[in-house]
Amino acid sequence: MATLFEGFTLCGLVQTSSASDSAIQGIELDGDSDHAVVTDSTRAVTLYKVSDQKPLGSWTVKQGQLLTCPAVFNFQTKEYVVVSDNKVIRVWKEEDLNLDKAFKATVSADVWRVHSAPGGELVVLFQRGAVRLLDSLLSAPQQPIEGILSEKEVIRWSTNIVAEKQHFVLFTTEQRGEHFLYVQRLNPNTLQKYRLEREDSGASPLSFSASLRDKHINLLYLYPNGCVYQSVVAVRGPVGLEGVQALPRSLRLRLPVGEGELGAASAVALDEAHVAVVGMPHPSARTGKDFLCIWNTNFQTLQAGKEMVGRIRGQVWCYLGKLFVPHGKALSVIPYECQKSSLASALGKLRHPGIAVSKSSVAIPSWNTLLHGDQPQGPTKIVDTRKSKLRRKSQSAPALTVDQVLELIKTGPVEEVRREVEALVSRGDAQDLQLSVGRLACQLVARSQVETAFYAPGALARLVQTQCLCHSMCPDLLLLALEHKDYFLCQLCLQLFPDIPEVVTCACLKTFIGVPDGDVEMVSLEPDSVSFMEGLVAAGARGGQQNGFSPPLFEDSCDPHHQPKPPQHQDKKNPTLQLEVCPVGLHKAVLLNEVLQTPYSDNLLVPHLKDLNAPQVILFLQYLQFIYLKYSQDVYTQTPVLRSPTMTQIIDWVCLLLDAHFTVLVMAPDAKGLLSNLQSFVKSQVKLFSELGKIEGSLQELHKMKPSKDISQYSIEVIELF
């Protein structure tokens, strides 16, 4: 699990005039782990002590000059370096007060960025793609700088990485809608160019983030449609490969983007399983895209989310367990924590997927991974895409792939969609099933939301039954099912989703209580739970005559569950009779049982329970009272059913409802009898436990007495032999 802790504001931000520009150019680390060097978009560099939220020093350039690159700290010389007006490199120490008096050097070409990393030298990246070490550049500032990039090619993003004493500068460029990744190695200098795979929509990546893991550089990039891809470049890659290599990618995460596309968003990898995304909508909150979320890429689950007030600029930095997010008028620092999920390691899902598993082969099992496991593949294999492409082509099965089914879902009729989904799910292998099931479900839900006439209950039910789906993967599914009154699907979701938010549980509950009995009785529900409920109701009906004695009251009400009547209309003179009849219809009761068994946390549930109105609460309480009575009757022998609400769950729900609506119930005249009954339950429970305590005491006494009683020292007995 990952957690986002309470954040704090580091500093205020100046509002910039244009919407897209950010107020902050960059945040870099200082020699001190608690320091942050913040460069704003115009003229100032400020050094902050993060834990105290206060500035330690600030340096500005003259009016008319502009900082064009974030200030960086030189870990070797303990100096700060910044570039102003693209060409002037300034170097100063913390003691220096005035930036104008600091060391300056003008270079011959425009600088894109200066990069610094602990343990590495400072590197200057020019806008035309050339790379120089700062020291050598400053020794001869006017040296000619070659252009590497072509005319229309512009740098979008850059970073540097130090791995195994090897220094890398990575930058991505854009040229006529195509994106490239350059990997520049220093000492010896080699440059490798990769082409990023084009996204179908032709959109540009919104953000990049690079990290070093297992001697491979992992590049993570986010597209406006919510896809987070990962590409891997080997640190000890092939040297001297000419030309542009294609860079294979794998889909790590498909974020729910809500309506439209992501505008200003950014994703940064926190560790091998977690990604922090800023500027995306929260799946359970429907409006706004200004959330900071942590996702688990192995399980495709949302681990933590936080709303950021104000406009998000699609920027996020991550240093030493803290996320720096500029939003609205402030720069917030949010500490986080990612724990390795133990389930992940138990299921073996915490793996480093080989690069061969790329987009088009999602649904097809990769023979390589099947045969050789997930051994870290040699560097030659990683970029060797021709072979894997061939392999992928030869593998494609006659049946439709996930992408094809996704296309089909966009247009195809319900029946065909159901058939294809079924086929896909039944043949899909477990490894990739999770991802594809999530995509299919999202696609189906999306289409149903757009096209009101389209609704594929069969396909959705099949997808839910794979047990690969959870609520956070497809947050709209359950609500959609409720909307379409697909109670079977609702039941399945309630049974199989482990992570239904309390608000949705409550919405289900409200719908279930409110729905007329006639509507539900026609629906076919899961037979196991129905038979359980039938048994429960029948137990009461039989119970009347079981001892050869049936009170006259029972003879009046024959077949209570075939003609269920709301107890409000019941004969109020017979309170005992009222208790014996199920206050809701059979199928409705089955659905309510599912709600009872849904996991929840009571603090979160109680506020939502307040949404229920008084008649609903009373009806639900009556139902709870009914099954409580059934459970406590002697005639009811617990049949072994896989899922049935436990006594504890029933009592907990009674308590929750009373907590949420106590004043209302006290005032309502209808609830008077109910409350006094419930009070008698409590009394009987208290009595039961005190009796059990007594029995326990006596049994313990017996236990103590036993040895002395059994072994008497001497006796004379008579035996008979034959």
Partner: protein, 700 residues
């Protein structure tokens, strides 16, 4: 057949002591076993694990280790002495101060020429084994810290010594330590505690196996002194190791009560050459420390704090399921049955209980009532402890006897015999020691009074029996009965006939001599049977002697006619039923029903049986014979049958297992049809043991 009144006695709170050491003599197939109280027991593994001999303990003696040299048995203990035992007279032959402080271990080389002991002061001392004695030879290089365990390399040139935190390998000819193997300490809190190497084993390929207090069994290369393999087997101590004869298997006993087997096998099928020591099986037959272990040809023998001796057969060594392939647990020394004596005089049943340190005399309770079968009768008089007699001297009591009239009481230790005169009138009891005893009577293996209490018989050395005449004023030596065979083995069973004419004595050579007491000479020798007699009795009226052997065979011998009776011959011809033969404890008593001369009463640890010679013998050959089903039903099954069915299932062996606890003693009172049963529930013994080591169980 009839109703019996049974006096169930459960106040004999005998407590066997923990097993400390074990040594198996593969040549004679005898197992020597030392208990904490210093007693040594000898089991004969060729004869149904029958306990042949017991050497009683002594207060000052503590045995840490046992060792066979040929047929000679040596022990060493924390009193710093080495002792050799006289297995014919059941006493220590001599003991020798080693002058090295407490001795932890004693071993001999394979040639049987030298003994080595490990001392508290850090020396390994070598002794030369001479014809009648042992003699100190020299010390190996003295080490710092005590020597806990030793193992001699089969070639005799090297000795491995387990110490604190290390193992030393000594070169025997020079006496120098040539290797120093450091043993790691345990983890966590036990890091600060020294590791005790409780046991080492030196194999012929110079592999050293060690078991230590950190719970490890480690395999070392003795040439290079390097650690080859560590098996962490327990959180507690590994106390004992034993190597099989072919060195393909090592067993280790732990404080958790488990015995863990390691085998020298190839870990994969493909590479049969690369063998290594692999942990294979775990046996859990003990609840407490396993202190002593022996791996013999077909079984693992283990014993420890919980006082049981367990013989666990290795099933892969057996081709088919048989009597020998069953697990055998020996809870009590068999001779414990001899520790109880009953006198039935004057209707007042007196019971004499013998403990190593004292004698207890009890009077049984009484009841006038009569009841239905299954009833428990109300007591008119409760049982009463009349006397507690503490022994004198350090030596433990080895045998005792109470005359049937209740007027005489005698006990013997290895050093002296004491006879007391008892007088009971109403509720007063007085005891007087007989002061002047004949010189010849200095020690006895067995004591026994004649039925009229006029004579006492004491089994002495070389199977001889001393006859002592008892009168009110004195006791006088009469005669020494000597066997003709010249056997040197001790007598372990003695019984007299009711008419006072015959005395039968059985010795460990399986010989039974019958003496004519009127003529004071040997009457006859019962034909020697291959298994040791475990119980015998002479019928009061017919003078037929019933003998039961360790292998469960049953004979009836007519003393007068000097031959087996017809019934016995018939029984042997038809063969005993398997259910009878497969019992795993020997019959320990034979008595007779005074009312019905056809009935013999016998019992073992788990059941008692009345054999009625008038009934048909249950034997497979009688299957379907007139009115008999051929099935060996016990009494419980018979009781559950209907009245009509029952007659067809009745047979001569009336086995009663009503008493599920360990049955130690059974005798029939002479006056009426009543039996006395002395029981000792195993639960009562386990409840008196110290708490076992704590083991993490689920959810505790």
């Amino acid at each position: 057949m009839g109703e019996f009144k049974v006096h169930r006695v459960r106040f004999f709170d005998y407590m066997p002591t923990a097993i400390r050491a074990m040594a198996f003599n593969a040549h004679t197939e005898r197992l020597a076993l030392a208990r904490m109280d210093g007693s040594v027991e000898i089991f004969n593994f060729t004869d149904h694990y029958f306990q042949e001999k017991v050497i009683p303990g002594k207060d000052s003696r503590s045995i840490e280790s046992l060792c066979w040299v040929g047929g000679r048995l040596f022990s060493a203990g924390l009193n710093g002495e080495i002792a050799e035992y006289d297995l014919e007279n059941l006493r220590p032959k001599y003991s020798l101060e080693a002058y090295g402080g407490p001795i932890w271990t004693i071993i001999s080389n394979t040639q049987g020429t030298q003994l080595a002991i490990g001392c508290e002061d850090g020396t390994v001392k070598l002794f030369e084994v001479l014809e009648e004695h042992i003699q100190f030879e020299r010390n190996l290089d003295r080490q710092k810290g005590r020597i806990i365990s030793l193992s001699w390399h089969p070639s005799g040139t090297h000795i491995a010594a387990g110490m604190m935190d290390m193992i030393r390998v000594f070169d025997v000819p020079t006496g120098h330590a040539v290797q120093r193997l450091l043993v790691d300490r345990g983890f966590g809190g036990s890091k600060s505690r020294e590791t005790v190497v409780w046991s080492v084993a030196f194999l012929s390929d110079h592999t050293v196996v060690s078991g230590d207090s950190a719970g490890k069994v480690q395999v070392w290369d003795g040439h290079t002194g390097t650690l080859v393999k560590t098996h962490l087997v327990t959180k507690w101590d590994v106390l004992a190791l034993s190597v099989s004869k072919d060195e393909s298997s090592v067993v280790a006993g732990t404080s958790e009560g488990t015995v863990i087997q390691f085998q020298f096998i190839a870990p994969t099928l493909h590479q049969q050459q690369d063998k290594e020591w692999v942990r294979t099986r775990t046996f859990k037959n003990h609840t407490h420390d396993v202190r002593a272990l022996a791996e013999i040809e077909t079984a693992i023998v283990s014993g420890g704090m919980d006082t049981h001796l367990v013989v666990r057969p290795l099933l892969e060594k057996f081709d088919e399921k048989s009597h020998a392939s069953g697990l055998r647990k020996i809870h009590f020394p068999h001779v414990i049955a001899n520790n109880i004596n009953l006198s039935c005089a004057k209707k007042a049943g007196l019971l004499l209980f013998q403990f190593p340190g004292q004698l207890e005399l009890w009077r049984l309770g009484d009841s006038d009532e009569h009841g239905k079968p299954g009833d428990r009768l109300p007591l008119k008089r409760k049982p009463e402890k009349l006397l507690l007699l503490k022994r004198k001297g350090e030596d433990h009591i080895c045998c005792s006897a109470l005359s049937s009239c209740g007027g005489w009481l005698a006990y013997s230790t290895v050093s002296s015999v004491r006879i007391y005169r008892l007088q009971t009138d109403n509720n007063n009891i007085s005891i007087t020691k007989v002061s002047k005893l004949p010189k010849a009577l200095h020690s006895a293996h067995q004591l026994c009074f004649s039925s009229d209490s006029s004579k006492m018989f004491a089994a002495s050395s070389q199977s001889s029996v001393l006859v002592i005449a008892l009168t009110q004023s004195e006791c006088k030596y009469v005669h020494t009965l000597k066997p003709k065979s010249g056997s040197r083995q001790p007598i372990h069973l003695m019984t007299t006939s009711g008419d006072g004419k015959w005395l039968a004595a059985a010795n460990s050579d399986c010989e039974i001599h019958v003496y004519n007491l009127q003529k004071l000479k040997l009457h006859c020798i019962v034909p020697v049977y291959g298994s040791c007699p475990s119980a015998m009795g002479i019928h009061p009226t017919t003078n037929n002697m019933t003998v039961v052997h360790a292998d469960q065979q049953l004979f009836e011998y007519s003393i007068v006619e000097k031959q087996y009776t017809d019934w016995s011959r018939k029984l042997q011809k038809q063969g005993l039923h398997n259910v009878w033969l497969d019992r795993d404890t020997p019959v320990t008593h034979v008595t007779f029903n005074s009312k019905n001369p056809n009935q013999v009463v016998l019992h073992d640890m788990h059941m008692f049986c009345i054999i009625d010679q008038m009934f048909i013998h249950p034997c497979p050959c009688h299957n379907g014979l007139i009115g008999f089903s051929g099935l060996f039903y016990n009494q419980m099954t018979l009781r559950s049958l209907s009245e009509q069915e029952r007659p067809s299932h009745l047979h001569a062996f009336k086995i009663c297992k009503t008493f599920q606890v360990s049955l130690l003693f059974l005798a029939s009172l002479l006056d009426d049809q009543s039996l006395v049963v002395v029981e000792r529930p195993l639960l009562a013994i386990t409840s008196q043991l110290p708490a076992p080591v704590r083991q993490k169980k689920f959810a505790t």
